[in-house]
C-alpha cells in the first residue's frame, strides 16, 4: 500500500466519521425532536395556579356568613435575600422591629416552606408597616408585600360545623376534590360547606406560566398568563341565621340546665347518682316539605376564624385533635351516632302494623316488666320499663304516648320467635326510613349509623366466635332502639319528616341550588392576553389575586350551563346542547402547544409544577359533595334518588328571593298507610298533650292549638355513661318543622331534651318564652 492509498483510507475514515456525526445530529433534530422539545419545555416552563376569588357563603336570606377580605401579607424570597447569613439575620431583625414579630419566629416561618417565589412570614400586616417597607425597600432585600384574600366571618362563630373552614391543601393534594387542578400551598375547604361545595366556591384558578433557569430562578420577562382566574360562585344555605342562632343558644342552655342535675350511670348494677356532665349535644331543624335543613347546631363549637391564618399542628392537636375534649370540630348532627332509644318506637309500630302483627286496636297489659318466653337460664330474661312503671292496658297509640317498653319488647320477641313474620321485619322498616345509611346531605363526614341484624352480628363476630348468636334479647333491644342500634340526629329528623309528610323520605338539603362551577373562559382571549404579566417584579403576578382578579370579572363567566356528571340530572335540560361548547375550552387548554410537554404531577417540587391532564372534560357540575349523595346512599336496594326543583313555600322563615330554587331530593316513598299513620301521629301528639305523655311536662303551657306539635322522647342507655337524652318531633302548619335534639349524658329525654325542643318550637312559632329549664316533675320515661 503506497502513501496515496493510505491517504485515501484516511479520507474514507474521515468521511465515515463525519457521516456518523451528520446522521446522529439529523436523527436528534428530526426524529427525536418532539421528545427533546418537550423535555426542553419541561426544563424551563413551569405553571402556577393563581387562585380565583372564592365564592361567599350566604344564609337563607342572603346574609353573608362567610366573606373574603383583602389583607397584606409580607413575603420573603430566598433568591433575593443577601447570601451572607449575617446579612440575612440583619434583614429579619429589622423586620422584627417593623412587624413586631420575633425574628426567630420569622426565620422559623421562612424555613418552614420551600417556595422560590417567596414564603409568607406575616399576615394581616398594618398599612403603616407596609408603607414603611415599601419606602425602605433597599433596607429589606428579599422582602415584599402582597395582597391576599382570606376568609372572614361577619356572623362570628355561627354554625361553624356547617360552614367548615379553609386550610392548606396538605394531603388532599394526592386526591383533590372534583378532580381539579391544585398545587402545593393551595388552600381549600377542609370541612363543612367549604369542603362539600369546594368546586363551586373555588372558581377556576388562573394559570401563569413561568420560565425558570437551571438554578430554578424565575426569568421575569418570560412570565405570562395562560388563563385568567374565574371567581367562584356563592353558595346560599338553607340555614336561617336567626333560627340557627336561637337553636345554638337553646342547645347550650339545655346542656347547662342538665348539668345542674344528676342520675345514675348505667354500668349493669345500681350505683349512687352523679351529676350529668352533659358535655355535648346537637339539634337539627328540618323542613319536612322541602328537605331543607333550617338549622343545624352542634356543641361544643369552635371559631372558624382561628383557621384563617393557619393553625399550627401543635395547637390543632391540642385543641381539636383526637384527644381534645369532646371533639369540638365534630358536627354531631351528622357525625354523632346515638342509640335512638324510644324515639325509634314509631317505626317499630309501623313495622308491626305493616307486617300484620298488630292493628290499631291491639292491646296488651303493661305490668311494668316483660319476661322472655322459653328463656335459657344463663341470660337476662326479664326487662323492665323505666322506673318499673306499669302502664296497664296499652294499644299502639298509647304505647307511644307513655313510651311503653313492654309493648315493644313483646313485638320484638314476636318478630324473632314467631314464624309468621319476617325475622328482620323491624330492621327492614328502620332501613326503609333511612336508618343505617347516609342521608346524602352535602356535608362531609356524615356517619350512617347502624341497624343491627343477626347477619351483621355474625359478620361482626367473625368465624372464630360461633357462640355469639342473635338472641331474643337482641331483638328486644332493637325494638326499643337500644343496644347496637345507632342513628345520627339528622337521620332521626329525616325519618320523622317521613312520618310528618305522609311517607316521603327526603334527602336533606343544606344549600339552595347553585350555578354550576365555572369553566375556563373563552380560550383565545384568555390564552393570548398577556395582562400585566411582564412587570419587572415577578412576584406581582401570583400575588395580585385580589387586585387583578376582582369580582367584577364575574361578567366573563360563561353563561352556558355545565352538564352535570351526577346520575340524577333530571334538571339539566340544556345539558346536551351546552356540552360541546363548554367543554371545548378545557380541551384546548389541555392540548395547547405549551402544555403537551407537562408530565405528571410532581408535588415534590415546591415550585408548583403540575399536570394539566386531571382537568377532564367532565368536571363535576352539580354541587355534588365530595362524598356524593348518589354514591353514599345505602346499598339496600334503595331506588334512585329523584330530584325535583320545587318552589320555596312562603313561611315564617327568612324570605328567599325570587329565582332561588331548591331541589327536593326524594329518596323513597315509605310504606305508610293512613291506618297506621293516624294512630302513630295521635300517639306522638299525646306525648305532648296527654297528661301521661312523656314530654307533657316539658310542653306544659305550649299553645298546641295554634302551633300543633307531636314528638317522641328517647333515653338511650350508654354503658358507663349517663343516658343520652333525645327528642324528635314535628310541628307547625302541616307538620312542617321537624326538630331533633340530642344531648349527651344529660339524663331522660323528656326532662333534658324535650325542653330544648320546646324552646326551638317556640322560636319557630315566633315566640321566646325564656331560657330552657330542666323538667323535674312528671314520670321518668324513655
Amino acid at each position: 500500500m503506497d502513501t496515496r492509498q493510505r491517504l485515501g483510507t484516511l479520507m474514507i475514515v474521515t468521511l465515515c466519521l463525519f457521516a456518523t456525526l451528520l446522521v446522529r445530529v439529523t436523527w436528534l433534530q428530526t426524529v427525536d425532536r418532539e421528545s427533546f422539545t418537550q423535555q426542553a419545555v419541561l426544563n424551563t416552563k413551569s405553571l402556577r395556579l393563581v387562585p380565583a376569588q372564592r365564592g361567599r357563603i350566604l344564609d337563607r336570606a342572603g346574609n353573608v356568613l362567610v366573606d373574603n377580605q383583602v389583607v397584606s401579607v409580607v413575603m420573603v424570597t430566598k433568591s433575593k435575600l443577601p447570601t451572607r447569613s449575617a446579612a440575612q439575620a440583619a434583614v429579619f431583625r429589622k423586620l422584627q422591629d417593623v412587624l413586631g414579630i420575633d425574628a426567630g419566629e420569622l426565620v422559623r416561618r421562612f424555613n418552614s416552606v420551600d417556595d422560590l417565589e417567596g414564603v409568607e412570614v406575616a399576615r394581616n400586616v398594618t398599612e403603616s408597616a407596609i408603607v414603611y417597607l415599601g419606602e425602605n425597600s433597599d433596607l429589606f432585600p428579599g422582602v415584599s408585600a402582597i395582597l391576599d384574600s382570606q376568609r372572614v366571618y361577619p356572623q362570628g362563630s355561627l354554625a361553624p360545623h356547617v360552614l367548615g373552614y379553609v386550610g392548606d391543601i396538605g394531603d388532599d393534594l394526592q386526591a383533590p376534590p372534583c378532580n381539579a387542578r391544585y398545587q402545593t400551598g393551595d388552600k381549600l375547604g377542609k370541612t363543612g360547606i367549604e369542603r362539600s361545595y369546594e368546586c363551586v366556591l373555588r372558581g377556576m384558578p388562573g394559570v401563569v406560566e413561568y420560565t425558570v433557569d437551571r438554578r430554578n430562578r424565575i426569568v421575569a420577562s418570560q412570565t405570562r398568563w395562560i388563563a385568567q382566574p374565574v371567581p367562584g360562585n356563592d353558595v346560599r344555605l338553607t340555614i336561617d341565621s336567626d333560627l340557627q342562632k336561637m337553636v345554638e343558644k337553646r342547645v347550650k342552655e339545655g346542656l347547662a340546665a342538665a348539668r345542674e342535675h344528676g342520675g345514675e350511670v348505667f354500668v349493669g348494677k345500681t350505683v349512687p347518682p352523679t351529676p350529668f356532665p352533659a358535655p355535648a349535644g346537637s339539634a337539627v331543624v328540618f323542613d319536612s316539605s322541602t328537605g331543607a335543613v333550617i338549622a343545624m347546631a352542634s356543641y361544643p363549637d369552635y371559631d372558624p376564624s382561628e383557621f384563617v391564618a393557619g393553625i399550627s399542628a401543635g395547637d390543632y392537636e391540642r385543641r381539636y385533635g383526637a384527644d381534645a375534649a369532646n371533639a369540638p370540630l365534630t358536627n354531631r348532627a351528622i357525625s354523632g351516632q346515638y342509640a335512638p332509644g324510644s324515639t325509634a318506637k314509631p317505626f317499630v309500630a309501623v313495622s308491626a302494623f305493616n307486617n300484620g302483627l298488630i292493628n290499631e286496636r291491639t292491646t296488651i297489659e303493661d305490668t311494668g316488666s316483660f319476661t322472655i318466653e322459653n328463656c335459657p337460664k344463663n341470660v337476662r330474661c326479664t326487662f323492665n320499663n323505666a322506673g318499673n312503671a306499669a302502664h296497664g292496658k296499652v294499644d299502639l297509640q298509647r304505647s307511644l304516648t307513655v313510651s311503653s317498653d313492654v309493648f315493644y319488647y313483646r313485638l320484638g320477641q314476636r318478630f324473632w320467635t314467631e314464624k309468621d313474620w319476617p325475622r328482620n321485619g323491624i330492621q327492614d322498616t328502620y332501613k326503609e326510613f333511612g336508618f343505617g345509611g347516609d342521608t346524602g346531605i352535602a356535608l362531609p363526614n356524615e356517619k350512617s349509623g347502624n341497624v343491627p341484624t343477626p347477619e351483621s352480628l355474625a359478620a361482626g363476630a367473625g368465624k372464630d366466635n360461633p357462640d355469639i348468636k342473635w338472641r331474643t334479647g337482641d331483638n328486644l333491644n332493637v325494638a326499643i332502639g337500644q343496644g347496637e342500634m345507632l342513628a345520627t340526629p339528622l337521620q332521626l329528623a329525616a325519618a320523622y319528616a317521613a312520618l310528618a309528610n305522609n311517607g316521603t323520605l327526603l334527602s336533606p338539603r343544606i344549600a339552595f341550588d347553585t350555578p354550576p362551577p365555572p369553566i375556563p373562559v373563552d380560550e383565545p382571549a384568555a390564552a393570548a392576553a398577556p395582562t400585566s404579566s411582564s412587570g419587572p417584579n415577578d412576584s406581582s403576578v401570583p400575588a395580585s389575586t385580589p387586585s387583578t382578579v376582582g369580582r367584577e370579572q364575574t361578567s366573563s363567566r360563561p353563561s352556558s350551563s355545565r352538564p352535570s356528571s351526577s346520575q340524577h340530572s333530571s334538571r339539566q335540560p340544556e345539558a346536551s346542547s351546552s356540552q360541546s361548547s363548554s367543554s371545548r375550552p378545557v380541551t384546548d387548554l389541555v392540548s395547547g402547544p405549551d402544555f403537551e410537554a407537562f408530565g405528571p404531577f410532581s408535588p415534590s417540587l415546591g415550585f408548583g409544577r403540575f399536570s394539566v391532564d386531571p382537568i377532564g372534560p367532565t368536571l363535576p357540575g352539580d354541587p355534588v359533595p365530595i362524598e356524593g349523595p348518589a354514591d353514599s346512599l345505602p346499598s339496600d336496594g334503595a331506588p334512585t334518588v329523584i330530584d325535583t326543583t320545587i318552589a320555596i313555600p312562603a313561611d315564617s322563615l327568612a324570605v328567599v328571593p325570587a329565582g332561588v330554587t331548591i331541589t327536593r331530593r326524594l329518596r323513597r316513598s315509605v310504606d305508610l298507610s293512613n291506618d297506621v299513620r293516624a294512630p302513630v301521629l295521635a300517639g306522638l301528639r299525646g306525648v305532648i298533650t296527654d297528661g301521661g305523655g312523656t314530654a307533657n311536662p316539658a310542653f306544659r303551657g305550649f299553645p298546641v292549638e295554634s302551633f300543633p306539635v307531636a314528638g317522641k322522647t328517647g333515653t338511650a342507655q350508654v354503658f358507663r355513661k349517663h343516658d343520652t337524652a333525645l327528642f324528635v318531633g314535628f310541628g307547625g302548619p302541616a307538620n312542617r318543622f321537624v326538630v331533633c335534639v340530642v344531648l349527651e349524658e344529660a339524663g331522660f329525654g323528656g326532662q333534658a331534651a324535650a325542653p330544648v325542643a320546646r324552646a326551638i318550637f317556640e322560636g319557630l312559632d315566633g315566640r321566646d318564652d325564656g331560657a330552657v329549664t330542666y323538667v323535674t316533675s312528671g314520670s321518668v320515661e324513655r
Binding site: L7, L10, L21, R24, V25, Q29, R33, T37, N43, T44
Partner: protein
C-alpha cells in the same frame, strides 16, 4: 493544478514574480474556513448568556492572536521547522515538565501557566510540537517503517503524552494517540502494529481508570458514558441536557439568543466544550450541517495539502494536523450528541479558549506553510 493557479501564475509571471513563489499558492479556502468557523464561534459564545461580552472580547483577542500565529507559521518554511525539530521537541517536553512543577491547577489538572490575565495550556501547543517532531523523524525514513522505528516513534510520542496524562488530562492525551496513529499509518506502518497500538491505548485508559491516575470527575465522565444510570448520573444529566438542547433545535433552530437550554444554563460549559449545543439548539440542523460542512471542507483542504506536499515531511505534517482536528471535531461533537464520552476537549475555532485557539490556527498555518511550498 487548478485553472486559477494557472491563470494567477501567468499573471504573476508577467509581474516578474517566480511562478513557484509560495505566496502565489496560499490556500485561501482553508483560511476562509477558519475565519468562518471562528466568526460563528464568536456569535455562539455571545449567545450562551447575557453576561458573555467579556468572553467575546477575550475570544476576539485570541482570534487576532491566532490569525497572527497562522500567518507566522505559514511564513516560516516548514522545512526549517523540521530541521530544528530537536529543539521544538525539547521545548515541548520541557514546557510539559515545567507545568507539572510550577504550573497551576484548574479543574483538577496540573496543566496551566498563569501569565497575567492569560492562562497558557502547554498541552495544546505540544500537539503542534509533536506533529512537527514526528514529521521530522518520519521524513528521514524513506524506507519501510520497521518495528524498531515504529517503537521509536511511539517513544517520541509517549514522553509528552505521558506528561500530559499525569496532569491528568485524558482527553488531550488521547489526541496524541490519534495523531501518532494517523501519522504512522501514512508513514507506512504495518496494520498489525497499529492494531497493537489501539489495543495498548485501550489498556492504558482502563489502567488509568483502575489505578486512580485520573481526577475523579474524569473517571466519572467515562463511567457516565458506559453506565448512564450509575453513580455518575450527574454527568449523564449533562449529556442528556446537551442532547435536549440539540434535539429541540429542530431543523432551523430556535433562533440566536432564543435557546432556552442555552440561555438558562442547562448545559454545562456551553461557551467552551459544549459550544456545539448552542449551535444545535439555536441554529438547528441547518446550522449544524453548515458548520460540519465547513469542517469537512477544511479537512479536505488539509488532506489535499497532504497529498500534494512536496516531501514526506510535509505530508506527515498535514496528516498530523488533519488527525488532530478530526479527532477534536469528532470527539467534541460526538460528546454533545451522546455518542462519545465526555473528555473535555474543545471544538477547534468555535470553543472559547486561548491556547486551543492559538494551537488550531498555528496548526492550519503549518499546513499552509507546507502547501504553499509544494512547488519548491
Amino acid at each position: 493544478m487548478t485553472l486559477t493557479d494557472t491563470l494567477s501564475t501567468r499573471r504573476h509571471r508577467a509581474a516578474g514574480v517566480r511562478p513557484d513563489s509560495p505566496f502565489l499558492h496560499v490556500d485561501w479556502v482553508l483560511i476562509a474556513c477558519t475565519v468562518m468557523l471562528s466568526a460563528t464561534g464568536l456569535v455562539l459564545i455571545r449567545s450562551t448568556g447575557a453576561n458573555n461580552l467579556r468572553l467575546v472580547e477575550r475570544q476576539s483577542l485570541f482570534l487576532v492572536l491566532g490569525l497572527a500565529a497562522l500567518v507566522t507559521m505559514m511564513t516560516l518554511d516548514y522545512r526549517n521547522l523540521l530541521d530544528n525539530a530537536v529543539f521544538i521537541y525539547g521545548g515541548t517536553v520541557l514546557s510539559l515538565v515545567l507545568v507539572l512543577l510550577i504550573g497551576q491547577e484548574h479543574k483538577g489538572a496540573q496543566g496551566w501557566f498563569d501569565i497575567g490575565p492569560m492562562q497558557l495550556q502547554p498541552a495544546e501547543f505540544a500537539k503542534v510540537g509533536v506533529i512537527i517532531s514526528l514529521a521530522a523523524y518520519g521524513s528521514g525514513q524513506r524506507n519501510f517503517l520497521d518495528a524498531r522505528r515504529f517503537v521509536i516513534v511511539l517513544m517520541l510520542t509517549a514522553v509528552p503524552t505521558a506528561l500530559i496524562f499525569i496532569q491528568p488530562d485524558l482527553g488531550s492525551a488521547l489526541v496524541f494517540l490519534a495523531i501518532v496513529f494517523a501519522m504512522l499509518w501514512i508513514a507506512g506502518a504495518p496494520p498489525r502494529l497499529l492494531l497493537a497500538l489501539v489495543a495498548g491505548g485501550i489498556v492504558v485508559v482502563f489502567a488509568a481508570v483502575r489505578l486512580g491516575v485520573l481526577a475523579e470527575y474524569q473517571v466519572n465522565r467515562l463511567l457516565a458514558f458506559t453506565n448512564p444510570g450509575g453513580k455518575a448520573s450527574g454527568i449523564a444529566f449533562n449529556v442528556t441536557q446537551s442532547k435536549i438542547a440539540i434535539g429541540s433545535g429542530g431543523l432551523l433552530g430556535k433562533g440566536l439568543n432564543q435557546g432556552t437550554q442555552t440561555q438558562y444554563g442547562f448545559v454545562p460549559e456551553q461557551h467552551s466544550d459544549f459550544i456545539f449545543t448552542a449551535l444545535g439548539e439555536q441554529l438547528g440542523l441547518a446550522g449544524c450541517a453548515v458548520v460540519l460542512l465547513v469542517f469537512g471542507i477544511l479537512l479536505a483542504r488539509i488532506w489535499r495539502a497532504a497529498a500534494s506536499a512536496r516531501d514526506t515531511g510535509g505530508t506527515l505534517i498535514c496528516v498530523g494536523v488533519m488527525a488532530l482536528l478530526l479527532f477534536h471535531v469528532f470527539q467534541n461533537v460526538g460528546m454533545t450528541l451522546g455518542i462519545m464520552p465526555i473528555t473535555g476537549i474543545p471544538l477547534p475555532f468555535l470553543s472559547y479558549g486561548g491556547s486551543a485557539t492559538l494551537t488550531s490556527f498555528a496548526a492550519v498555518g503549518l499546513v499552509l506553510s507546507v502547501e504553499m511550498r509544494r512547488f519548491r
